[in-house]
């Protein structure tokens, strides 16, 4: 018998982390959808979770998969990615949104790793757990993501 806490407790403890990762990776306009899809998928699979101590990284892995799905759906849609989404999206400071837009342009693994590191504040070992990779690979994904972001930033600064 597993000794999983009531799912409501998981929601209360980790809900904000999931919402923040969703906001960063899928974009603020898709954060609520991404959060709901994540938590419903998690609730559905929850009784099968073997080890209650990994619940946070397990949730964040589901969240990043949902965020990538949302991102892909959007990329296929006729609305250009750079276009702000219509509807009552919460306001992100323009300067921040520019930064998140660049993060969202990163390849999947780097994007997720950067979000885990800087939004969910995970250690490299936890990033590895959440992404199903080694700690070393997690470190590399964050490093590569940051390297690309710097390159994009410098290129943009040079054209100003």
């Amino acid at each position: 018998m597993s000794r999983l806490p009531p799912f409501q407790e998981v929601l209360e403890r980790y809900g904000r982390d999931v919402l923040r990762v969703c906001a960063a990776v899928a974009g603020p306009a898709h954060a609520d959808d991404c959060y709901q899809e994540t938590m419903l998928a998690a609730l559905s699979a929850y009784p099968g979770l073997r080890d209650p101590s990994v619940v946070r990284s397990w949730l964040l892995r589901i969240a990043s998969n949902k965020a990538i799905d949302a991102h892909r759906t959007r990329a296929r849609s006729p609305v250009p990615v750079a276009e702000p989404d219509p509807g009552a999206a919460p306001a992100v400071p323009a300067h921040d949104e520019e930064l998140w837009a660049r993060v969202r342009e990163l390849p999947d693994k780097q994007r997720i790793a950067v979000a885990y590191r800087f939004v969910a504040d995970l250690a490299y070992r936890e990033i590895g757990d959440a992404m199903g990779t080694s700690e070393e690979a997690a470190r590399r994904n964050v490093f590569e993501g940051l390297r690309r972001l710097r390159a994009v930033h410098e290129a943009a600064a040079a054209t100003r």
Binding site: L4, P6, Q8, D32, Q36, L146
Partner: protein
Amino acid sequence: MDELETALRAAADRLPVEAAPPSLEERALRDGLVDVAYATTESPVGRLLLAATPAGVVRVGWTDEGFDAVLEDLAERISPRVLEAPRRLDDARRQLDEYFAGRRTSFALPLDHQLSRGFRARAQAAIEAIPFGQTGTYASIAAAAGSPRAVRAAGTACATNPIPLIVPCHRVVRSDGSMGQYGGGVERKRLLLELEHALPA
């Protein structure tokens, strides 16, 4: 930490997720993902925890039991898919309100008795049959449950009743007419019997 990392952390702190995350209740209930739904409600005997499975009300908890402890117990014994979903408890909350307001003398709610087995389940079924405003004795409950000598066990069945109020164990008193014990405390028992004008002389 360089400029970019500082900027990322600062931007992360400004992500607009201050408001409560959106509720899962509606979709989780519709998709059948909630094995134990719960809500809390105010009452003259203190705040109550109400929990229901798809089969019916499975648990009523007193505030002094600690709602977190009750929910953990339900997660372990029934399913960890426990979600705050007040909608599923709307009927139960309304009927309890009416009961406390003196406008309802019996409950019409589906109940899930899975937390009780054997003699206790039979004793609790006998308790359900005691009408509003009347009392039964521990001895009569033991007899109705098929074990006339198990008077003490009938007391335990009352004390461990997972659905107090709705399964009215407060209506079970001692054969000498005194009130006896109560899972929710004797003060609550007195108040409930007063409400029903059934306080033993």
